[in-house]
């Protein structure tokens, strides 16, 4: 014993490969699961090609973006039930404003919608801070407020979107004959940028810090209130991106769909993606395949001959199983002497 600490704590004693497996295993696993499902799906249907891939990527965008919104907030120790309402609100607002506009005007509107959503959701975070009411209560309120605002903006389904704008998300101006890569690029750029921000910058790390141990983060000199507001602002922007994608895919807005269902999907996706609902743990990179898997489950089960209601049951069982596995691992770790 020449050292005061165990050998295993010293540099170079743990194989980087094993650490990688331990830390990123879940992320890799979810990606593998997605590709396995796609491979399985390709054997189920008579003709599998780029059309199916494009279909999954393009239509999976809203849930992926919404799940990233939820992940950012949950990592910082919160939870936002309002993201689904924000999706609907930003979708109908953009559809109404964009109808008949030029591409450059449309892009300006898109940026404006993103910024407004970030500011509004930052306000939600601010209210949580000053009122000291739990996140889940305040955001349950914001869900209904956003949904109601959406109905006020666009009471009946309608509006429109510029063809060029629709191409950005779907690779098609009209929604017919789509292309897979613009959607893939859109997901990759935004989510990878977010992942790098979270893991590499002090402001990003501070989200993990307050989610991991708020008291310790405060003692380390972080302004916990400011970090929480930041997480809600970024979450709001991603919810708005999900809303813009929804408009681009459908070519119109519809405020009669209930955002709460989308919120629950986003929570399911982050759970599958390995984000701890208690905060501080998780990667947005794993949220991409998790969101796509949730979206993909329906067509697979349909192709297998299971009816749509059965699909919901399987989706529910999957979430419970994932939570059970993580719960049991955590429980065993805690109880061990």
């Amino acid at each position: 014993m020449t050292s005061t600490v165990r050998e295993s704590l010293l540099e170079g004693t743990q194989s980087p490969w094993r650490r990688m497996v331990r830390r990123q295993g879940w992320t890799v696993g979810v990606w593998v699961l997605l590709f396995l499902l796609i491979a399985y799906y390709s054997t189920l249907i008579p003709k599998f090609g780029s059309f199916q891939v494009a279909w999954v990527i393009n239509n999976g965008q809203p849930i992926v973006f919404l799940a990233v919104a939820q992940a950012v907030i949950v990592i910082a120790g919160g939870i936002d039930l309002g993201v689904g309402g924000m999706l609907v609100l930003t979708s109908v607002t953009s559809a109404r404003l964009m109808e008949g506009q030029s591409l450059s005007m449309t892009l300006l509107i898109a940026v404006g919608v993103l910024a407004a959503a970030a500011i509004m959701n930052a306000g939600v975070g601010w209210i949580i801070n000053v009122s000291n009411v739990p996140d889940i209560v305040i955001t349950l309120g914001s869900l209904y407020v956003f949904q109601g605002m959406a109905l006020a903006v666009l009471p009946n389904p309608g509006g429109g979107a510029n063809g060029g704008f629709r191409w950005l998300f779907t690779g098609s101006d009209t929604g017919v004959g789509s292309n897979w890569w613009p959607g893939a690029v859109m997901i990759t750029i935004t989510v990878v940028a977010t992942a790098l921000w979270l893991a590499r910058t002090r402001s990003g790390l501070s989200l993990y810090a307050i989610g991991s141990n708020k008291a310790a983060a405060y003692l380390s000199g972080l302004n916990a209130a400011r970090v929480k507001i930041l997480s809600y602002a970024v979450g709001g922007a991603f919810a708005a991106l999900a809303g813009l994608a929804t408009t681009a895919i459908a070519g119109r807005g519809n405020a009669t769909v209930f955002g709460g269902t989308r919120t629950l999907d986003s929570v399911a996706a982050i759970v599958l993606g390995g984000v701890a609902l208690t905060g501080g743990i998780g990667s947005v990179i794993a949220v991409i395949p998790a969101g796509l898997i949730l979206f993909f489950l329906n067509p697979i089960l349909t192709a297998m001959g299971v009816d749509p209601h059965g699909a919901q049951i399987i989706q529910g069982v999957l979430i419970v199983l994932v939570l059970m596995v993580t719960g049991v691992i955590e429980w065993r770790r805690k109880r061990r002497g």
Partner: protein
């Protein structure tokens, strides 16, 4: 270094008349403290004297209700911990302030530091080769403490405050900390050192401030002071006299019943280990005995109770109930074998919005046949338990409306109706008035006289001779002292609890 008589320059840090209340509990009343440049200053006092509260106010974790803090002769307004850091005050808190889900490097980045800032300090502590990509949550407590210390030092503070840093450290690790403290002092900087280990205070500190019940009762120059004098200063003369009177009054009652050592052993712990908190605890508890346990904060008592009540599994060692090995997977198993817990926080035991009766009946609902109603004589037993506790049941329509003392009676009473063999009490009289305390002790004595065994942890040393038959002292997860409670003096227990008896050479 000097800072004594004439002293033309203002003190590095001074706190004057600091008050702090948490609801009805007064943590600090007019506490004061002065730290000069270039000194190591001890802050000592019993559990709950207000040491940590004062440190947290000085480092701006929360504000004082009133009082002033003066840094270098100027009144300082510190709003949050980062303000304290920029004024040159760095603190290592009792609980390490590192985020468990971030790596060491990431934790440093949160504090605007990098590897190079802490490495020189870590090398001094023999941690120079530590892997910075480890998650803080995977590190042992001692390493976290030292990392936290290195982080504080990297901010290059004028005043370093160390709250119970040595509690979790081994002797050689503590030696590194002392080296660092000497170096700080040599560079004309100051250290505020909080510890329960009086030997360390005498070894390291130039002066000390003693807190008692939230006030500073003595400021000592430690040159030529010995341990006994320090203990006396901590206890206060008056309190000692009161204690003796009280003991005389009680003596007649307690001495009459000698401890019967041939009674059967109902609970035996054999070499229990848990993490680095419980390091080989063994004891025997006999029928009809009240076995006392005392310790300073954080010596492993909470973990010991978790092991005894079946909440956690020991890493090694075993627990025998009535001679049979208990392998409890959860508290349910422990309760079935008659081992029941009165937790230190009564909010963990009670249903606050329900009535006294309902609370007393809850353990009975564990049995499936009782899911719909109580059966047989159980109704009667609940009635008897209510009567025995001497609580007005009409006032008890909601347990949360009762006083703290009466709530505590209910937590004990819960087991009266259900029946038990051994009662594990973790500090049952914390924050309770004298009269109710006496009632609780009477209740415990009655239970023991009826043949139950009681294992009682209390942080209040004066209580031990009044209730217990025997007393154990826990220090650093080990039983370091055992004696008959009737002959236990506060001084003896306090020195044992501070680890003075077993100081390694």
């Amino acid at each position: 270094m000097d800072g004594d008589v004439t002293d033309p320059s203002p003190s590095l840090l001074a706190a004057r008349a600091v008050d702090k209340r948490y609801g009805p509990v007064v943590a600090l009343r007019g506490a004061g403290l002065t730290v000069e440049a270039g000194e190591v200053h001890g802050l000592i006092g019993a559990n709950g004297a207000g040491k940590s509260t004062l440190v947290k106010i000085l480092s701006a974790v929360f504000p004082a209700d009133s009082g002033t803090i003066i840094v270098n002769g100027e009144e300082a307004v510190l709003r949050r911990p980062s303000d304290a850091l920029t004024t040159g005050i760095a603190t290592v808190f009792q609980d390490p302030a590192l985020m468990p889900d971030l790596t060491i490097s990431q934790n440093l980045r949160i504090s605007r530091l990098d590897r190079g800032d802490v490495l020189p300090w870590l090398e001094r502590m023999d941690l120079g080769r530590i892997d910075f990509d480890l998650m803080a949550g995977d590190l042992p407590l001692a390493v976290l403490r030292l990392l936290d210390l290195a982080r504080a030092l990297a901010h290059d503070p004028h005043l370093l405050m160390l709250d119970e840093i040595t509690a979790a450290l081994t002797t050689d690790q503590a030696a590194y900390v002392f080296d660092v403290m000497r170096e700080m002092k040599g560079a004309g900087r100051s250290v505020l050192f909080i510890t329960h280990r009086l030997g360390e205070v005498l070894m390291m500190c130039d002066r000390a401030t003693i807190l008692r019940n939230g006030a500073d009762v003595a400021h000592l120059d430690l040159k030529g002071v010995d341990e006994a004098e320090l203990v006396t200063a901590m206890l206060g003369e008056q309190l000692g006299e009161e204690l003796i009177e009280e003991q005389d009054a009680e003596a007649a009652a307690t001495v009459a019943e000698p401890v019967v050592l041939d009674r059967p052993v109902v609970l035996e712990a054999r070499d229990l280990h848990f993490r680095d908190k419980v390091n080989g605890v063994s004891f025997e508890l006999r029928r009809g005995e009240i076995l006392g346990l005392t310790a300073l904060e954080g010596q492993g008592q909470d973990e010991l109770f978790q092991l005894l009540s079946g909440d956690r599994r020991p890493k090694s060692g075993e627990l025998l109930v009535g001679g049979e090995r208990l392998n409890a997977r959860s508290p349910f198993d422990a309760i079935r074998s008659g081992l029941v817990l009165v937790p230190s926080d009564r909010h963990h035991a009670l249903l606050p919005q329900r009535s006294v009766r309902e609370n007393l009946s809850t353990p009975l609902y564990n049995r499936i046949r009782n899911w719909f109603s109580l059966v047989g004589d159980e109704e009667e037993r609940v009635d008897k338990a209510v009567g025995r506790l001497d609580i007005d049941v009409r006032a008890g329509s909601q347990v949360q409306r009762l006083s703290g003392g009466n709530q505590q009676k209910v937590t004990i009473g819960r087991w009266l109706a259900a029946g038990f063999g051994t009662l594990l009490c973790n500090d049952p009289t914390r924050g309770i008035d004298i009269q109710t305390k006496a009632q609780i002790y009477d209740l415990l004595k009655e239970l023991a006289a009826d043949g139950a065994a009681v294992f009682l942890y209390t942080s209040e040393l004066t209580e031990i001779p009044l209730v217990c038959d025997r007393v154990l002292v826990l220090y650093d997860g080990r039983i370091v002292h055992e004696q008959d409670a009737a002959t236990a003096t506060e001084e003896a227990l306090l020195s044992a609890a501070h680890g003075l008896e077993s100081t390694p050479a």
